[in-house]
C-alpha cells in the first residue's frame, strides 16, 4: 500500500491520506476486512504527526470507508461502496449539468466539450 504525501501540495496532509485510501478502496485494491496500519505506525512511516493520521482515520470512519475496533485496529468496510459510487456519479452529473448549461448559454457546441474532455483524459488528471 503506497501513500504519497506532498509537502508542497495545497491540500492538507490528512486529506491527501483520506483521498488516497478512498481511491484504493474504490478501485478494489483494498478489500473489505483488509487491515489498515495503525495510526501510530502510519505516522511513523510517513514521518508525519499522529494527530494528522488520527484525523484522517476519523474522517474515513465517519464517511463509512473504514471501521475501527478498539484494541484491534482499523479495517476496510466495503459494504457501502455502491452507495458511495452512486453519490459520486450524482456529483459528476451535477458538475456536468453546470458545464453543459454554461456551454449552451455561451453557444459552445457538444463537439468542443467532447474535445475538452478528451484533452483532460489525455493529460491523465482523472487520478
Amino acid at each position: 500500500m503506497d501513500i504519497i504525501i506532498s509537502n508542497s501540495s495545497d491540500r492538507p496532509i490528512y486529506e491527501q491520506i483520506t483521498s488516497q485510501i478512498k481511491s484504493m478502496i474504490m478501485a478494489g485494491r483494498l478489500k473489505e476486512g483488509d487491515p489498515l496500519p495503525s495510526m501510530r505506525t502510519l505516522a511513523k512511516k510517513l514521518r508525519i504527526s499522529v494527530i494528522t493520521t488520527k484525523r484522517a482515520y476519523e474522517d474515513l470512519e465517519r464517511e463509512g470507508f473504514i471501521t475501527t475496533v478498539v484494541g484491534k485496529g482499523s479495517f476496510v468496510r466495503a459494504a457501502d461502496l455502491t452507495l458511495v459510487r452512486e453519490e459520486k456519479l450524482k456529483q459528476i452529473e451535477d458538475l456536468l449539468f453546470k458545464a453543459v448549461s454554461l456551454a449552451g448559454q455561451s453557444g459552445i457546441g457538444r463537439g468542443e466539450i467532447e474535445e475538452i474532455l478528451d484533452i483532460l483524459y489525455q493529460e491523465g488528471i482523472e487520478s
Binding site: 511513523k44 508525519i48 504527526s49 494527530i51 494528522t52
Partner: protein, 299 residues
C-alpha cells in the same frame, strides 16, 4: 491521566530575566517541540519542571506526580528519561560498563535493552566515553534514557551540534518511541527543522513568555505569508496578522489563517489597489517564528 506534563502558573525570577506565569499541558502520546531563541527560557523551564530549580510559584505535575523541590520520592523518576546537551557520564568509563552503574540507579533498568540499543546505535563498546564524538555521546545518553521504564523523555537541546544524518536518526528514535501511545517526548531545540519534521505540537517561548502552543501540521497548513505593496499589506484585516515586515521593495505579513484571508475577498480588493496581485506563500515553521519574534521586538 491525559497529560504527561501539566504546568500551572510557573514563575521563576532571575536578575534581568523571568519566566512569566507559564502554563501548559503536554498530552500523552505526542512529540512536543519547545522552541525559542537562546536565552528565551527553554532550559529554565525544563529545569523547573524537573524540580531542579527553586521557583517563585507554580504547580507542576509529571506523569501525574506533583513535583516539589527537595522531594525525596524518586519512584516516578523511573519513568522519566532526561537528556541534556552535555554528557553526564564520567569520561574514563567505558561504554560497556555503563550498565553496571545504571542498574544500581534505576530499579527498572534493563541490561538487554541497553545492549540492544548500543548495537542499534553502533556505539563502540570498548571505547571510553571521553573518546566518543559528540553525536555518539548524545546517542549514548538517549540509549540510557530508553533503557529503564521511561514513559516520558525530556530533552534539552539534544540535537544541537549534531550533523543532519545523526539528527535524523535521533528523530526516528523518538517516532518509534511514541508508537506506544503512553509514551511522550518533550524536546527543546533551536534547530527548527528538527521540530518541523518530528513534532506533533509546537510550543514557543520568547523572553520568558509562552507565545503559543499549537498543532504543528495544522499550523503549517493555516499560516501564510502575504507579499505585496505597502497599501496591499495594510488592507489585510488586522485580526488576521501575526507579524509584519516592511522593506524598500515591498512589504510582507504573516497571516495566521491564509484560507480565511482568501475567502474574505481580500485578493480581489488588493489586486485593484496595486499594479500586481499580492502573492500568498506557505509559511514554514521558521518563517512563523521569525515573523512573530521580530514583530514583538519592534514593539
Amino acid at each position: 491521566m491525559k497529560n504527561a506534563i501539566t504546568v500551572k502558573n510557573l514563575t521563576k525570577k532571575y536578575e534581568g530575566f523571568q519566566l512569566n506565569n507559564i502554563s501548559f499541558e503536554i498530552p500523552k502520546g505526542s512529540i512536543v517541540g519547545f522552541v525559542g531563541e537562546n536565552g528565551a527560557g527553554k532550559s529554565t523551564t525544563i529545569k523547573a519542571i524537573l524540580g531542579l530549580l527553586p521557583v517563585e510559584s507554580g504547580e507542576i505535575e509529571l506523569l501525574g506526580h506533583k513535583i516539589i523541590k527537595g522531594d525525596r520520592e524518586t519512584s516516578f523518576k523511573e519513568h522519566i528519561g532526561v537528556v541534556f546537551d552535555e554528557s553526564i557520564f564520567p569520561g574514563d568509563l567505558r561504554v560497556k560498563y555503563i550498565h553496571k552503574v545504571m542498574r544500581n540507579v534505576y530499579v527498572t533498568w534493563k541490561d538487554d535493552r541497553f545492549c540492544e540499543l548500543i548495537k542499534k546505535f553502533q556505539l563502540p563498546e570498548e571505547k571510553k566515553i571521553k573518546e566518543l564524538s559528540k553525536g555518539m555521546k548524545m546517542k549514548l545518553s538517549i540509549a540510557v534514557a530508553l533503557s529503564h521504564d521511561s514513559q516520558l523523555l525530556i530533552l534539552d537541546e539534544a540535537t544541537s551540534g549534531l550533523d543532519p544524518v545523526i539528527r535524523d536518526e535521533i528523530l526516528d528514535i523518538f517516532r518509534e518511541f511514541i508508537e506506544d501511545e503512553n509514551h511522550t517526548v518533550f524536546l527543546s531545540s533551536h534547530i527548527i527543522s528538527d521540530i518541523e519534521k518530528a513534532a506533533d505540537y509546537v510550543m514557543m517561548i520568547h523572553k520568558g513568555e509562552l507565545l503559543f502552543q499549537e498543532n504543528k501540521d495544522e499550523m503549517l497548513y493555516r499560516y501564510g505569508i502575504v507579499r505585496g505593496s505597502k497599501e496591499q499589506i495594510n488592507m489585510i484585516p488586522k485580526d488576521l496578522i501575526a507579524g509584519k515586515e516592511e522593506g524598500d521593495f515591498g512589504c510582507s505579513a504573516l497571516v495566521w489563517d491564509k484560507g480565511k484571508l482568501m475567502n474574505s475577498g481580500y485578493m480581489e480588493k488588493a489586486a485593484a489597489a496595486g499594479s500586481n496581485k499580492p502573492v500568498i506563500d506557505k509559511a514554514g515553521l521558521e518563517d512563523i517564528l521569525l515573523y512573530i519574534v521580530k514583530t514583538k521586538e519592534r514593539k
